[in-house]
């Protein structure tokens, strides 16, 4: 009854030996360290609600481009009929086997477009432009570091589900981690609504990964381990697996509470680099925009 779905479970399952992955991550990381390791902490301390929403906007740009390219076969610039900022490299339309898979991703794509529009609107003239995004280099680095040499999320349906999981689980933890930093209650409630929307997405996506079976689940373990290797010593991550007679679709601790990540740990993951003070790399070859930009 009380089999705990908590972070210690990872050790029990023997999932925490990604030493090889760590070495690879170190090798692929773009080393552009900030002058002082404490710069990131200072960024977190001094951030305003505008800074936090801009930080989130970087992630929403990434998700929007991922889904628009993979699901609809278009780009955010085409959808918004204007250039939103930096160049985006990679991504192409994926074929889905079931109407429900196509349908759920269309819903997610629409939501991400709305998130971008909303955050840009709230921050107004202070809203950051889209940073340069590189799916090709980003996913190539992930594939190497996770030990999944053929991992191209746009190559097939299963990989696209896994690529969605890679980004959006992180989005949920980013909003949860930022909740206590937000000062304005209206902004807080809006952020809670976006957090929930991303949680819905991941509940749907991860349930499909579970139903896809052993190969998809094994890949979710590799990706979860990679994220966990990048974001510091604490265990904030869980793969899609079966534990006893239960699924583990929802990443949650022994209290049924989802994990949160600081902006710095989020940046460790999207920059593909576990070091502090990193300013670019991975999916953001020129770094994210805004005042919160160092891991």
């Amino acid at each position: 009854m009380m089999t705990q779905v908590d972070s210690t479970r990872r050790s029990f399952l023997g999932l925490d030996s990604p030493g090889a992955a760590l070495a690879t991550v170190g090798a692929i990381a773009v080393s552009a360290a900030a002058p002082m390791g404490s710069a990131a902490a200072a960024q977190a301390r001094n951030s305003t609600d505008v800074d936090i929403l801009n930080f989130a906007l970087n992630l929403e740009y990434l998700e929007t481009e991922y889904y628009l390219r993979g699901v609809i076969g278009t780009t955010a610039d085409a959808a918004f009929r204007t250039s939103l900022g930096g160049a985006v490299r990679g991504g192409r339309k994926v074929a889905f086997s079931r109407p429900s898979h196509d349908g759920l991703f269309r819903n997610i794509a629409g939501n991400e477009v709305q998130h971008v529009a909303f955050l840009r609107s709230v921050n107004g003239t202070a809203a950051i432009p889209r940073p340069v995004i590189d799916f090709e280099a980003g996913f190539a680095a992930v594939a190497a570091a996770a030990g999944l040499p053929d991992f191209d999320p746009f190559a097939n349906e299963m990989n696209f589900f896994l690529g969605a999981m890679l980004f959006e689980d992180v989005g949920v933890t980013a909003y949860k981690g930022a909740a206590k930093m937000i000062r304005n209650k209206r902004i807080l409630e809006a952020a809670a609504g976006i957090l929930a929307s991303e949680g819905y997405h991941m509940g749907a996506v991860r349930s499909v990964i579970y139903k896809m079976g052993d190969r998809a689940r094994a890949r979710s373990i590799a990706l979860s381990n990679l994220r966990d290797t990048l974001d510091g010593p604490q265990d904030f991550d869980q793969p899609v697996v079966k534990i006893g007679d239960k699924s583990n679709v929802v990443p949650a601790n022994e209290n049924g509470i989802a994990f949160g990540r600081t902006p710095q740990h989020v940046l460790n993951i999207v920059y593909g680099n576990p070091a502090q003070g990193i300013l670019q790399g991975g999916f953001y070859p020129e770094g994210v925009n805004g005042r919160i930009n160092a891991s």
Binding site: V5, G110, S121, G193, V250, G256
Partner: protein, 323 residues
Amino acid sequence: MFFPQLSSTRRQTLRMMSAGLVGAGLASCADLIPQNVGLALLPNPLTGPAVFNFALNLEYLEAEYYQRGVYGRGLPGELIGPNPGAVTGGRQVTFRTAYVREFLAEIAEDEFNHVRFLRRTIASSPLVEINRPPIDLSNSFRTVGRAAGLGDNFDPFADEASFLLGAFLFEDVGVSAYIGGSDLIAGSPSLEAAAGILAVEAYHGGLIRAQIADMGPAMIAKADSISRARSAVESPNNRTQPVGVDFPLLKEQAISSGDMFPGEMVVSPTDAQGRTFGRPPQDVLNIMFLNPDPDVRRGGFFPDGVKGVVRHARIGAAAQGKA
């Protein structure tokens, strides 16, 4: 298709995008936030424990639903308080699909853990009531079934598809309740835990909606009809609330109602800004009592009412300064 007004909201977003008007078109919600800053910074009339006490009622309901459906038993004695109310109805479901049972067993464990966590968190606080309230899982669902056009004897424990429909009803409401409560506990140590529970309930909601979407048009139509019934018992008062939630049109979104991209299935119910709907406590209580009356104090899933300070719709409204 069932909610032309909501669909048109979503269509509007796409149209504005196509016209390059997103920034201008959505400026109204940006305006809303600064305008409300003064009010939003007023001190809370409710404490974290009072809000968690309110949430505990919903978690009891969910936990009893899943424990009974998956295992054929209720919560253990140590988790229901010294003077617990009775639970009417509910029995073990015969699952035909292994992964559906595995999903529901996982959700059952999360909800069990939520009850345990909330009880432990608020146990020593003043003015909280941690006994399980009386819960009805039988007449309540028959009422929902009639309202949704699913016949006179809707029983969510009859088979796994029906059990998913009952889960669909609860999880969406749980998510919206935690969002609606988030501004009540801003700045409180409870906020981070509440955000983490919110996220878990949202994962559940997405999981359940994805299964329903995958089961085909007949199942989707049933879920959509439950969504409509759920919406029908909410008091339609948000439009006039000065500090109300800023998505005043509708708080419901059925699985088949999306239309931003053709073929869309709504696994994530949101407003036109992509935010999942929040419900203030009074709207949650109207749904739990299956009654839109602002004076209602009991009924539906809680035949004797709920426990804690926030226990009927008018108190819920007063707690948010909207009475």
